[in-house]
């Protein structure tokens, strides 16, 4: 696990590693904007968790010595420039990811316990029970500074139902991030969808007034459907109600995003091609 305030590696992780949970990405690309107004903004500190499900060649990963002056191993070498900002922590094995009498299912347990520290209930049915994950605790606490309180991204498979591993629900295998013990936050696995979520599908060629008006209408739409949903919920059974709560949560999340966007007045833009190249090469060098 790496915790760092530097900007560069984050995108690298997003592209390369198994699954990433990243706190806000709003103006994550600050260096990409060569605009004063943006550069003057103090970027909020972010937290990211990256997970490599298929393991790493540990002898080429773990530094031989502890303490400040360790030698960077082959895999970590590209990060050497950030020595002052990096801690490499060992011995963080998660006991709750072990079988503890539950038999096979390491893949599912590993995912479910990574950020929760909880030994999940063995079930492939709807009665899943994991734990709240640390990223979601942080997201709930730090919400408001950025457009999204959290982003969950992955490389493949975001199903949350069915049996994915020896009697364990796919929710465990596929979600590192849990909002409640019963609510996995499945990752977005489609790069295009993730891109559009970050930068919107908004037509940036439109004049600012038109775009401001559209933002206002989006807010009225969200208000309208949230109101509809709340009155609808009263007529539903408990299981459907849970589903609707999820939907309301997502509506609220979108609404918060709009509010923050208005407050910071940051124009979102994708990375410049040059910077993408830079990220790509630093990723490849890892």
């Amino acid at each position: 696990m790496i915790i760092t305030g530097k900007r560069l590696p984050r995108r690298t992780f997003l592209q390369g590693v198994g699954t990433v949970i990243a706190l806000p990405m709003l103006d994550a690309m600050v260096p990409a904007f060569a605009r004063r107004a943006v550069l003057d903004l103090k970027a909020p500190i972010r937290v990211a968790f990256a997970y490599v499900p298929n393991g790493i060649v540990m002898k080429d990963w773990t530094p031989k010595t502890t303490g400040k002056d360790y030698e960077f191993t082959r895999i970590l070498k590209p990060l050497e420039a950030f020595r002052e900002d990096i801690l490499v922590l060992s011995n963080l094995d998660s006991h709750t990811g072990n079988a503890l009498g539950d038999g096979p299912g390491d893949h599912a347990r590993a995912g479910a316990s990574f950020l929760t520290g909880v030994h999940c209930r063995k079930t492939a049915g709807a009665d899943i029970r994991g734990g709240v994950s640390v990223d979601q605790i942080a997201a709930a606490k730090l919400t408001g500074a950025t457009r999204f309180s959290s982003l969950e991204l992955g490389c493949e498979d975001s199903r949350t139902v069915g049996d994915c591993d020896s009697g364990y629900s796919c929710a465990y295998t596929n979600s590192l991030s849990w909002r409640t013990p019963q609510t996995p936050m499945p990752p977005e696995v489609n790069p295009r969808a993730a891109f559009e979520r970050l930068f919107g599908t908004e037509d940036l060629s439109l004049d600012p007034q038109t775009r401001a008006r559209r933002a206002k209408y989006r807010k009225s739409i969200l208000d309208m459907v949230s109101q509809d949903t709340r009155s609808l919920v009263k007529t539903l059974g408990p299981a459907d109600r849970r589903k609707m709560d999820e939907y309301l949560f997502q509506c609220a999340r979108l609404n918060d995003g709009l509010r923050v966007q208005k407050k910071t007045r940051v124009r979102l833009r994708p990375l410049s091609i040059g910077l993408l190249r830079e990220y790509r090469s630093s990723f490849l060098s890892m």
Binding site: P104, G105, K216, Y217, V225, P238, D240
Partner: protein, 440 residues
Amino acid sequence: MGPPSESLKKIYVCGHLDGHHTKGCARLIVEHLSQRAYRRPVTPKEVTQLTSLIADVQKDGGSFEEGLATAIQAMLLSPHFLFRIERTPAAPLTLASTRSLSQYELASRLSYFLWSSMPDDALLAAASRGKLAQPAALVAQVHRMLLDPKSHALVENFGGQWLQVRKLESVKPDRKRFPEFDEYLRLSMRRETDLFFESIVREDRSILDFIDANYSYLNERLARFYNVPNVSGQEFRKVVFAADAHRGGLLGQASVLTISSYANRTSPVLRGKWVLENLVGAPPPPPPPDVPNLDEAATGLSSSMRQQLEQHRQNTICASCHTRMDPLGFGLENFDAIGAWRSREGQFTIDASGTLPDGRSFDGPRGLESILRAQPDVFAECLTRKLLIYALGRGLEPYDDAAVKKIVKSGGTDDYRFSSLILGIVKSEPFQKRRSERPR
């Protein structure tokens, strides 16, 4: 502006010129669209809510089109569009109660079951006239829907899940051992199973063809892979197999054989489990804690797979499930991990015989198929359960058992034709009614 496109014509029900965009027209457009989106009649209040969005935009100086676009966004984000809403009956305090679905709720269940999509005009019209409550009209709708190209969604979605052939997208057979496995073969495998399933739906064949049909759909690539002569070109076509072709039925299809194997070797256990789960309907429980794994490297070298598994079964805990799984899988050992026919593995000749716990024994895939074929009601019940889960979007409960038995029985009087199962499901109580959740 040129002539309006087809989709614009569908939206602008009272004309496309600016002069037509009166207040009354806005209501008409919105009512028409939201009825489609929500798959039911809409209330005047819902229409007002949406038209007021249009009015707001126009008040800000936006165009009618922009207003309408905003209203359409609202419809598409509405829970009434995104979810299939079925009101739960008010439950008495202690008992679960049931109620019949409304005609519109039933129309949605039907169309999402058979088409994975919203009801079309004909189905909504039938619902509005109360036709779906009449058995003959309901049957006619189901037949119409099964013949419609949209029922391909049933093949792709249900078939993909039931047979697990969706897994084909992510399997990665060992490149060194199976150099002939490439993207083209992967896609061809999936296509074969889709087309085969589709033929059973479209031609309303007996579901027992899933077990031992004498035909399938092949292109040149797959035909070469199967050693079937005289198929050339990329297009798939129906091929009737010769008696000694080793193919026919799902268990001879490379898709099924590949997804039930490991990347580097076959697994009689996984294949046996696949058969139990998907054709017999008796899935084994997950393995108990702390079972040792097979010594994979040694397979085919120091001892055959069969010997290793037999050793595994010495353990009585393991044996309770493996005596059910392994023999079924052994029957398919003549197919390698990507479904090619073989007679040897390493230095060992393949022994594809098996004996079931009840004493029946068989040899090879053909033998396995006749064992499955001998109990058509077992396979029919398995498929019925899977279809019913798919149709209802929920797991089955003990109180659904009676309905399942009834569907299977009526299917049996009709040669287990595919439509007989579908009709049985559509007419069944779990499909026609909704149950309140028991208060907790």
